[in-house]
């Protein structure tokens, strides 16, 4: 057996898919065949391997294990595959030159644009998950939003605020979301500023991208 008391820690950052970090600890001397303990940075995956195996194979093995243990790791891609989303607006015109010299405001590179798009999309994707799940929405009768509103159709967020005759007052999109939660969905109201409401509003509005705002429209 190897004695692992003389472990030298060497940190490698392996960029594989989900960017899981791995700590690779080298097992010490005294072994006839040198072994290495490799641990994922969150401590959930561990393997002892011969030192010669270090490399892509090793990374792939651990990554596969990590993916098995984290089936939702690619939730954004998975949700986008299930439920088509409209992409956020294209901002590539900002990269063009013009009055850029000596002016810091408005100086953006591709990396900025990618960050904005990904972060915005992530909120929308989370909204799509809630929109399509009676459980995440908290329905007591197994009713989810998409059952009446596939791809958020007939949600018309661009028509709010408007006087909702049936409520006898002016309603915003979130009032109608709560109305649906009260009635067909039979669930608990969401915190109006909480993450679920923010995500639902984000998804519904994102799906109407390109539709002119038309408040008060019946």
């Amino acid at each position: 057996m190897c004695n692992i008391s003389t472990v030298a820690h060497v940190r490698f950052v392996l960029l594989c898919g989900a960017c899981a970090l791995m700590t690779i600890a080298l097992a010490g001397a005294g072994c006839s065949r040198e072994e290495v303990e490799v641990t994922t940075c969150d401590g959930t995956g561990k393997a002892m391997v011969a030192r010669d195996d270090i490399g892509q194979d090793l990374a792939d093995t651990l990554m596969a294990q990590w993916r098995r243990d984290h089936p939702d790791a690619h939730w954004v891609e998975q949700e986008k595959e299930r439920h088509e989303l409209k992409p956020p607006a294209d901002n590539s015109d900002l990269l063009a030159g013009g009055q850029a010299d000596g002016h810091t405001y408005g100086q953006h590179d591709k990396r900025d644009l990618l960050l904005w798009a990904r972060e915005t999309e992530k909120l929308v994707v989370e909204g799509s998950r809630i929109f399509h799940s009676a459980d995440l929405l908290g329905s007591t009768v197994a009713v989810s939003c998409d059952m009446c509103h596939p791809h958020a159709s007939n949600t018309h967020p661009e028509t709010y605020p408007k006087f909702q005759t049936q409520l006898g007052r002016v309603a915003l999109l979130r009032d109608m979301i709560h109305w649906c939660i009260d009635n067909p969905v039979r669930g608990e109201h969401l915190d109006p500023d909480g993450p679920a409401m923010r995500a639902l509003e984000a998804y519904i509005m994102a799906q109407r991208s390109g539709t002119p705002m038309n408040y008060g429209k019946h």
């Binding site: 595959e81 439920h83 009768v141 197994a142 998409d146 059952m147 159709s153 007939n154 949600t155 018309h156």
Partner: protein, 426 residues
């Protein structure tokens, strides 16, 4: 104040006090102490402790009790108790502001000028897309199916048969299908069943076949040949993804879920259809039932049959073909050559119209009222004329029935158009 022992001579005094001024003792309390009879303070205490009387229940409590009572009634669903329970379901619908419209208008047979008189006109009714969850989970969809059965049982005269258009269950569970079968047992006229994707993809139709037999069949009725297809056959998308049967069902159950495959009738059924039709002459009226529309409308919601062109080609030689389909939960009309297409209403919920590709002949129904759970839902009937073409009646709950007449599709929309919507889809 109506407290204590009221006598004939006692006057009722109503005093309103809203301002909530902070005082040691409310002025109203002094008035009550001086003038009210009986122990009014006990009433106040009971009210605060919510033990007052059973009329003071929260909406949630009332809803829960109503639902429990409804399901208790469903436990023993013979003919007698069916009438009671479905009457209660109708009552609850009326109480929640849903006005039950007089069931069906009897449909007069239009003049059949120029039609071949080979067959005797007849009428059948339809119910479709009930999407039942198992008992205890959701009572709304169960109530709606009961209402449809009640509607059709009250038709006088009774239709020749009742056609069920598929998606009896929501997630294909045997408890859901058993529950649906139990309710549909109460249909008085002979019942013909069709399968939908929600009935199929948990166990690939095993339970459905146990209950209702093979999903593909045909029969003759009063000179018309009627064919039922399983048009929801999807290419295997689940094995490669390692999906469980529940995951497969959940994927197919999402209308806007893009992981699933498009619906097809498929080669084996197309071959069966060719053989089945071979013995009929070109002038035999044909009615085909399919769950999905047998044409290509909107692929993203599977308002679509991928091999529709091939199926239409098989039907092409017949002079009169009518396709009646479910799945789309809305007024939907189309005609491709000799084939006239009509959608069926759902009892559970209406779908929005597809954002593109709508057939020209379709006159959309008004956007449903979100505040009325039954608006845009319903059932209907089909009057088959002597030439095999049909008047399609949409019995919309909470609205006037709408009829898409034989004359309308026969004239490509120039005659007999029903009123157009003034509340279009968004």
């Amino acid at each position: 104040m109506p407290c204590g022992n009221q006598t004939e001579s006692m006057k009722t005094l109503v005093q309103c006090d809203f301002d909530g001024t902070i005082t040691e003792e409310d002025i109203s309390f002094f008035l009550l102490d001086a003038f009210a009879q009986g122990d009014w303070r006990r009433l106040l205490r009971d009210y605060k402790e919510r033990s007052m009387n059973p009329e003071y229940k929260s909406v949630e409590t009332k809803y829960r009790e109503q639902r429990e009572g409804f399901f208790r009634g469903l436990n023993n669903l013979d003919r007698r108790s069916f009438l009671k329970v479905s009457a209660a379901a109708m009552g609850a619908a009326a109480a929640s502001g849903v006005v039950s419209c007089p069931s069906f208008q009897s449909v007069a047979v239009a003049g059949d000028t120029g039609a071949s008189q080979r067959n005797e006109p007849f009428r059948f009714a339809y119910i479709s897309d009930s999407h039942l969850y198992e008992k205890k989970i959701n009572d709304r969809f169960a109530r709606a199916l009961l209402r449809a059965v009640e509607d059709i049982n009250s038709l006088d005269p009774q239709p020749d048969f009742v056609f069920y258009g598929g998606d009896l269950a929501q997630l294909g569970r045997s408890t859901e299908l058993d529950f649906g079968a139990q309710i549909l047992k109460n249909v008085k006229a002979p019942l013909k069943m069709m399968v939908g994707e929600h009935d199929w993809y948990l166990d690939m139709g095993e339970k459905w076949r146990d209950l209702f037999g093979e999903p593909t069949y045909s029969w003759d009725h009063k000179g018309v040949h009627l064919v039922v297809l399983n048009s929801v056959v999807e290419k295997d998308f689940w094995t490669a993804r390692g999906m469980s049967p529940e995951e497969r069902m959940g994927t197919v159950a999402g209308l806007d879920n893009g992981v699933q495959s498009p619906f097809t009738v498929g080669e084996p059924q197309r071959e069966w259809l060719k053989r089945d039709l071979a013995r009929y002459s070109d002038d035999t009226p044909i009615i085909v039932f399919s769950h999905s529309p047998l044409y290509k409308l909107y692929k993203k919601w599977n308002f679509w049959t991928d091999d529709a062109d091939e199926v239409q080609a098989i039907l092409k030689r017949f002079q009169s073909v009518v396709v009646i389909h479910g799945h789309t939960h809305q007024l939907l009309t189309n005609r491709i050559g000799n084939i006239h297409f009509h959608g069926m209403l759902s009892t559970a919920w209406p779908w929005p119209y597809a954002p593109e590709g709508m057939p020209e002949l379709t006159i959309e129904m008004n956007r449903p009222d979100p505040f009325n759970p039954n608006d845009g839902c319903g059932n209907g009937e089909v009057q088959v004329h002597a030439d095999g073409l049909v008047d399609k009646v949409y019995n919309l709950w909470n609205r006037k029935p709408m009829t898409l007449s034989r004359a309308y599709t026969a004239s490509w929309g120039s005659k007999g158009a029903p009123p157009r919507p003034n509340r279009a889809s968004y």
